[in-house]
Symmetry: C2
Subunit: 210 residues, 2 copies
């Protein structure tokens, strides 16, 4: 900056060290980016017990929409009320195809055979998206839960994922991602809880938890 | 289901066990929700080295927008090109105030004093949002990076966060969240990388990484 006269020697040293560090960092990052040249659709999984799995998936939907891509969302588990993300994204039916599996979390419904039938019907909708090259990104929200509960067959799911259009991205969320699905994915993040408002007696908040 | 005659004994047993497990799970979850009664704005941090921190923040913005809340976003670090989420959210200026700190990642600019000045100016914009009770959720994207590099003073940041309107939610993203900020937060998730497409030679993808 032109107006920073007489910076202390300490500041000047710190700036010089910072600059040297950033030059090295830039070299490492640029080299890594240059080496990664394969362009194709990726499978991203967000799993684990921490907060942010579904939110992260919806953030990627928004990112894709910003690039003018068409998107699809299938939610495999839901509560009785529509979520904020559903209410928002339903405003853009041309840009985002939004499908929600029948009502109720599984611990609300307590009827396994009904849940299996609903999951199978939702997978048919997902499969339709996974066959449509006009859809650039598909979010399969809470699919991991449906797999963990054996509502869907993981091998069939992986076969359908592998048969999708080559440039299509898929984001899969939910705790307990099965190992075979992790193996089939390109990018996997475990969302590890450090602390949660819930443990401190704070109610689930509109706009944060639902 | 009415048409499922003669299910095998094994299936019936599995359904009964499932139902018993779900009844217990529902009791535990309902009790926890009933106990959590405090309603107030929360501070949510997504940190760690894995993918999904910023996406998760943008997902919460979308969730809040779906509930009719006004939102604010300040991005503390950015590249030369606008991200997909920026391009999308700028379509709704009445619903989402979007501010991006001056150009360039720090390892691109390699000029510490300029970065400090830019971070301070961006914090002033953030502070304006943190004083506005009409804004229901504020996303401070990559703030942790600015704190980690000592571009901003963490105690000042925490003081401004504490002085915000009581019902306002704040989401803070970026690797390396400082311990004092983690202490001040309500919900903290560490995004732990399991694997990344980058390591498999796949280029950063539009709609996924940017």
């Amino acid at each position: 900056m032109t107006d920073s006269n007489n910076p202390s020697t300490e500041d000047a040293d710190r700036d010089a060290r910072h600059k040297a560090r950033m030059v090295r960092k830039k070299e490492v990052i640029d080299a890594g980016i240059a080496a990664a040249q394969d362009e194709r659709g990726v499978i991203v999984i967000t799993t684990g017990n921490g907060k942010g799995k579904s939110s992260s998936g919806f953030g990627m939907v928004v990112r894709a929409l910003g690039h003018g891509m068409r998107t699809g969302v299938v939610q495999f588990i839901k509560g009785a009320l529509p979520t904020g993300e559903e209410m928002f994204l339903r405003r853009f039916p041309e840009e985002c195809a939004f499908h929600v599996m029948g009502e109720g979390y599984t611990w609300e419904t307590q009827d396994r055979s009904r849940d299996v039938a609903k999951a199978a019907a939702a997978w048919e909708v997902a499969r339709g998206m996974l066959r449509d090259p006009a859809i650039g990104l598909v979010l399969l929200d809470e699919l991991n839960i449906a797999l963990k509960l054996h509502y869907l067959d993981v091998e069939q799911v992986i076969a359908d994922l592998r048969a999708r259009p080559p440039m299509q991205h898929v984001v899969i969320t939910g705790r307990g991602a099965p190992p075979a699905l992790v193996e089939a994915a390109d990018t996997v993040t475990d969302m590890t809880p450090v602390k949660h408002a819930y443990q401190q007696g704070i109610k689930a908040q509109r706009g944060v938890e639902m």
